[in-house]
């Protein structure tokens, strides 16, 4: 009987010790996440699809730290992000472009830029064409050049991929790379950076454009006027088709939204941005 009692005590001590270790380690690990303790709200985020990987990673960290918090992340594109946060449908609206003055005035938006990102024209890795001039790029997207042969590639038609109207990536690419030139109606339309990457990586004769953060083995980034888009060239300002990644709130950010944005701007968040292929601002 006595031995049994001792054993039980031992088990309890063990459990307590384990719990203690657990608590301390989680406390030590938490650090920046501490501000999220005690929160139990829902945070709604939507908009730019380039932002999603960072948002997801941040959300996972926060929700693991405090399961009471629920962070909802939807895509939709920059336009949707700005519109929805303005209408109050979400707490944070992401955009891959600056909100226009009218949008800012209409909704009283506050923009926070937490990373810089380039938009690169991409092709399938099998495509021998690795560099284009701005003019060639414009002609391809406007539909004037229809064969890869004309720009030094195989004798195959060019399949242009573009994004939908709400896309900030599209806006930036159209303004800075295409100089506001036409995009052919025959272009395949996809709804996100991820979808663009999928489309281009599966189509040997494709051309499209994605956020630099999304570039991997599946697609090859085109050198534009002699400049290769990369984190370094975007950071140095050499590659000009770049934009900020913004998180917008209606009015000054409050509560959980503010904490979330602060987290993105803090060391942890910035590290996440770097990890996902964007250039941190701090």
């Amino acid at each position: 009987m006595k031995g049994n009692k001792n054993k039980r005590a031992l088990v309890w001590v063990g459990i307590l010790a384990l719990a203690l270790v657990f608590c301390t380690t989680s406390l030590c690990l938490a650090g920046e996440l501490d501000v999220f303790a005690g929160e139990n709200q829902v945070l709604r985020i939507s908009g730019g699809t380039a932002h999603i990987p960072v948002m997801k990673a941040a959300a996972q960290k926060i929700m693991t730290f405090n399961p009471e918090i629920q962070i909802i992340i939807a895509g939709g594109g920059s336009g949707a992000g700005i519109k929805q946060v303005g209408e109050g449908l979400v707490d944070i609206g992401n955009s891959g472009r600056q909100a226009t003055d009218t949008e800012v005035a209409k909704y009283g938006l506050k923009m926070v830029k937490w990373a810089i990102d380039g938009v690169a024209a991409v092709t399938n890795p099998q495509n021998p064409v690795k560099s284009l001039s701005s003019l060639q790029l414009q002609d391809i997207f406007s539909g004037k050049i229809v064969s890869w042969k004309e720009v030094g590639g195989k004798d195959a038609p060019i399949n242009v991929y573009t994004r939908d109207a709400a896309s900030g990536t599209r806006e930036v690419f159209w303004k800075k790379a295409l100089k506001e030139g036409d995009i052919t109606e025959k272009a395949n339309v996809v709804v996100s950076n991820g979808a663009m990457k999928t489309g281009v990586s599966n189509d040997p004769y494709s051309i499209g454009y994605v956020s630099v953060g999304f570039i991997d083995d599946g697609v090859s980034a085109l050198t534009l006027d002699g400049v290769t888009p990369s984190m370094a060239s975007v950071k140095s300002g050499e590659y000009t088709v770049a934009r900020g990644l913004f998180s917008n709130t209606k009015g000054e950010a409050k509560g959980l939204a503010k904490k979330f944005i602060d987290y993105l701007l803090g060391p942890d968040g910035q590290a996440l941005a770097l990890e996902k292929g964007f250039i941190p601002v701090n």
Binding site: K83, E87, A165, E185
Partner: protein, 283 residues
């Protein structure tokens, strides 16, 4: 007791009116939201105009064309297959083999459309691209083939059901006269069942028109008038899914209601047509 009867009847009637209200409410809501377009006389123009926001043109003409092309192709692909399978089930092997096949076809109706889309993206699109080198593979043909596969089970079941409308004694008579299978089919089954079969066709066409995911995932979504089956195209349904994220006050967003109303009108017309046929068929 009479109060109870009255109350229950009113409740059932109320439910019925509510359900009806939903049907009409959907149309009404879209008409109200599209009213600005009607008021400016833009609605009818939009049905035929091309889509090029750069030039301020927000017509859904390409989408209507795309929808009709893809749905027609789907039905054209589906008809012979469905007819063949329906004959197998209903006429050639009405017994064991046919019953098994029919069960499989019934099971096929429960495959989610998103699965067809998914397989389309990763199996059919690359296949089409390799076979017809050049295109992106996301085209009317791919979408039409997948949609054809999607609507086939429905069509088959409809055909099989039409075949059962043929009176057994007619078939027995044909058998007694020594008719072979093909004669039985052309001289007895078809004349009896064709009206009901056309009804099935119309309804399948409506189903093909109304599907969103397959078109959205594998038809390429280009907003231009398609010129060949290897061109990408955008359907009305995919257009709704693509534009829903746009600015709510923008004219792009308003075009959604043009799409919605056209889809409602086309499928509604199909239902009325199918019913008309069905009723005359019965008379």
């Amino acid at each position: 007791m009479d109060v109870k009867a009255f109350l229950s009847k009113s409740m059932f009637l109320g439910a019925c009116l509510l359900s009806t209200g939903i049907t009409l409410g959907i149309l009404g809501f879209m008409l109200v939201l599209a009213y600005p377009l009607f008021a400016r006389g833009l609605f009818w123009e939009m049905l035929i105009q091309p889509w090029s926001p750069g030039q301020g043109l927000f017509g859904v003409g390409p989408m209507i064309t795309g929808t009709l092309c893809i749905a027609s192709l789907a039905v054209v692909i589906s008809i012979p297959i469905s007819l063949g399978v329906a004959c197998f089930v209903g006429i050639v092997h009405p017994g064991g083999k046919g019953r098994i096949l029919k069960s499989v076809v019934e099971a096929m109706t429960s495959v989610p459309t998103v699965i067809y889309g998914f397989v389309g993206v990763f199996l059919l699109v690359p296949l089409v691209r390799t076979l017809f080198s050049g295109g992106s593979g996301m085209c009317i043909l791919s979408a039409g083939m997948m949609l054809g596969l999607l609507i086939s089970p429905t069509m088959i079941l409809f055909f099989v059901q039409s075949f059962t409308l043929v009176p057994q004694n007619h078939l027995d008579a044909a058998d007694a006269l020594g008719a072979n299978t093909v004669q039985k089919f052309f001289y007895i089954v078809l004349p009896w069942a064709w009206k009901s079969m056309v009804t099935g066709l119309i309804l399948s066409f409506g189903r093909a028109m109304g599907d969103t995911l397959i078109a959205l995932m594998i038809s390429g979504n280009a907003a231009a008038f398609p010129e060949s089956v290897l061109d990408p195209a955008r359907t009305l349904t995919a257009h709704i899914a693509l534009i829903i994220a746009a600015d709510f006050d923008s004219i792009e967003f308003k075009t959604l209601f043009v799409c919605g109303i056209s889809l409602y009108a086309m499928t509604g017309f199909g239902v009325v047509l199918a019913r008309g046929l069905g009723q005359r068929g019965r008379a």
